[in-house]
Symmetry: C2
Subunit: 482 residues, 2 copies
Amino acid sequence: MIKILAELNMNNYEKVTENIYRELISICGEKFVIYRDPEKLEPFSHDEVTDKSYHHMPEAVVRPAGAQEIAAIMKLANKYKIPVTPRGGGSGLSLGAVPVFGGIVIFLDRMNRILEIDSKNMVITVEPGVITNEINEAASGIGLFFAGYPMSLQSCFIGGNVAENAGGGKAVKYGVTGRYILGMEFVTPEGEITCLGGKIVKNVTGYDLINLMTGSEGTLGIITKIYTKLMPKPTEITDLLVLFKNAEDAINMVPLIITESKIIPAAIEFIDRLSAHTSCRYLNEDIPYEKAGAMLLIEVDGTDKQKLEDDYEKIGSLCMKNGAIEVYVADNFTTQERIWNVRRNIAEAFMVISPEQSLEDITVPVAEIPKIIPELERLSAKYNIQIPCYGHAGDGNLHVTPVKNPAQTHEEWKNILPSVLEELYIETGKLGGVISGEHGIGYKRKKYLKYSLDDTAIDLMKRIKKSFDPNNILNPGKIFDL
Amino acid sequence: MIKILAELNMNNYEKVTENIYRELISICGEKFVIYRDPEKLEPFSHDEVTDKSYHHMPEAVVRPAGAQEIAAIMKLANKYKIPVTPRGGGSGLSLGAVPVFGGIVIFLDRMNRILEIDSKNMVITVEPGVITNEINEAASGIGLFFAGYPMSLQSCFIGGNVAENAGGGKAVKYGVTGRYILGMEFVTPEGEITCLGGKIVKNVTGYDLINLMTGSEGTLGIITKIYTKLMPKPTEITDLLVLFKNAEDAINMVPLIITESKIIPAAIEFIDRLSAHTSCRYLNEDIPYEKAGAMLLIEVDGTDKQKLEDDYEKIGSLCMKNGAIEVYVADNFTTQERIWNVRRNIAEAFMVISPEQSLEDITVPVAEIPKIIPELERLSAKYNIQIPCYGHAGDGNLHVTPVKNPAQTHEEWKNILPSVLEELYIETGKLGGVISGEHGIGYKRKKYLKYSLDDTAIDLMKRIKKSFDPNNILNPGKIFDL
């Protein structure tokens, strides 16, 4: 009877009392504090991880209007030793925004202003609660775009993207969120407000706290303002859908694309047979998926139509020379959306088969990807489950997703999943990879961190956490235990 | 009589005794320890900062063969409380490698092996003592290059580049060193060895210690192995030398290039009249500098000849439309070298006028660069000194260089320089800039850090330092005082 319990309160946190509730009201206003209302608190008990055993209710939710209010909340929380969990759009996949010790959730939805679009410096300054896609909509008007956006851009908050250092579909060429964060204001765990960087692209004044905060999963501070670099928006985009006989052929192609063609595509996505079939059936989509044992979705972009044509022809020929069955070119928005829709809906499609699944995001060196496929087949056979594999192959970042076999009981699944993940993570480590490329460790992967980091590295991270947050009240229980 | 003294020994460091010398020999071998030999120790008392009042002799220099030896040295140094200063190529410009408290210098010249060139993953693995240019020579053979290299690549060590997060000439398009560092092994101040990342391009397992180490100026650990991402080497390069009537016209052009043309050049360098004339005369170079009040050196690169021609014609026309006097195209290696030679020799040329100068590297938002020029003119007039200005304008990173007036005495110069720098840094801060974009804080700019960082940020950095290095023995006295 393995069962995941709510985190034990080893830190002797205090509860949010009626008195503290009144203090929260005096900081944020009555309208913006939720307390003793299970129905209103419930949405803050989980993120996109479906496993209910991970859910945990907060005692209070506050919706501050700005950094000053957050600073006051953190000072209050330190005084009474109440755990505080910051929350963005709630689209996380590692339980980073789930209050595993209860306490206060700081929901950043009201801090949703675009503060400035500076076209001369190509920088947009935003509050953390801005939905990421709104940045691209705002930038698009002046021919620019935020190149670091993740796949969930319609619902995620930019603050969460920064806190998780979110990846995304165009990371092959453009890198991930962190590359575009030039500055930020944040509130420290002890309630001080500080501001780093700004509209500058080079900065070596002291330690790189901006990159340290980026990806620290809300454990080192609450980000209240973000300076994001924008890039010239590509005017030409073409997608190639390349069909292969099997996963090995497709995956073997990935490292070749860049090293042989010397072209860096915006995206190289891998979709295995199982993922393609499941998503196409879910969408009633008739792209020629039946013919393919696996496919690559390759996006090239640029500002010159002719150059782009040359690029995709070069890549297409290279694929044909290396075992591709067929190369389809999607050079208009409608066809491109059809193809990307298949890719974007894979996770959703598998939810129909079983919501009991574990969406992973292991990362290995690109050239090692071919070695992971037989291992997935072995695990799939050993545990009698489906393990679709798709994702950002161009970065070596794969969404390996163990899905419960409908024939298995819930208990059986809960028994085997830790073993499946452990074997997967160990194999990933052997290939020089890590357990998370973009979703983060959070609460979900905490006990597996040792497969990616040695004791000394984990110890150094704990030292940083303790030095920033001596009372361990900001998002405790995430990444590691202190 | 302002005089800079050697750092006071507030930390009660111990001296390197005969006993400790023998212990160092037992770790590294007698051949690789220098002790009580002023002539051999002297080269380790300074970097490229010419001001002799900053120089400080080490008590011992050791040249370890690997991480294990460095770990043993750090354990020894902790036991006896001896300060340790790591040193790469010695080309630093902020005194980062200067042992301001004496003690032991760890010189990394023997750790100079290229460990692996992995063409499939496009990653080169090197020891810290590899001269940066050797990386490019090795990568060139397989059509790749290290895009983050700095201007001093012929002499600097890659370990120093990482420790300083060095910038460089191609940062506009390719970013600085840090973007290419995928993993590293390092020895902690307490003598533990840890390894982070590797050949993976996405990684969110725990805090981003790789970026924290990068640019930490050798104060948080000694880097012993580096995984560096390589990029496809551009096959086509063209440089434009664009002459303008005055600095304002040239500088006003900088933000326009990217925002109007939507092309991101590899480099946009600014050279003011004074710098151009001084360097051309020094080199006996007859490029048409006499006609120009200021010039931009714009490099575009790519893989397609036709596309590149279109790009530079677009940029050239844009410049002509915006006040350029003339645009010269350098599309072959010889001419390109001639032009870049002028840029690269500016610092050297001013050394002939006076070695008493202060090479700065302030960074401001690109669109704010025009506002810095009148301020330099004001300072130049107020203090009766020359202040040439040149550098990486495309990044907002300018080598403003106050040079002693030959008519001034040494004492006069030492009296006015702190005021010049203070006024420069305050103005930089007002424009949203920082005091260092690529050279680092080190010992030289420590007292000015407050002009770029608030108290809370500096306090957080100190907390990190203390938590990594409780005895404050690794490169003490740099960036800030504890």
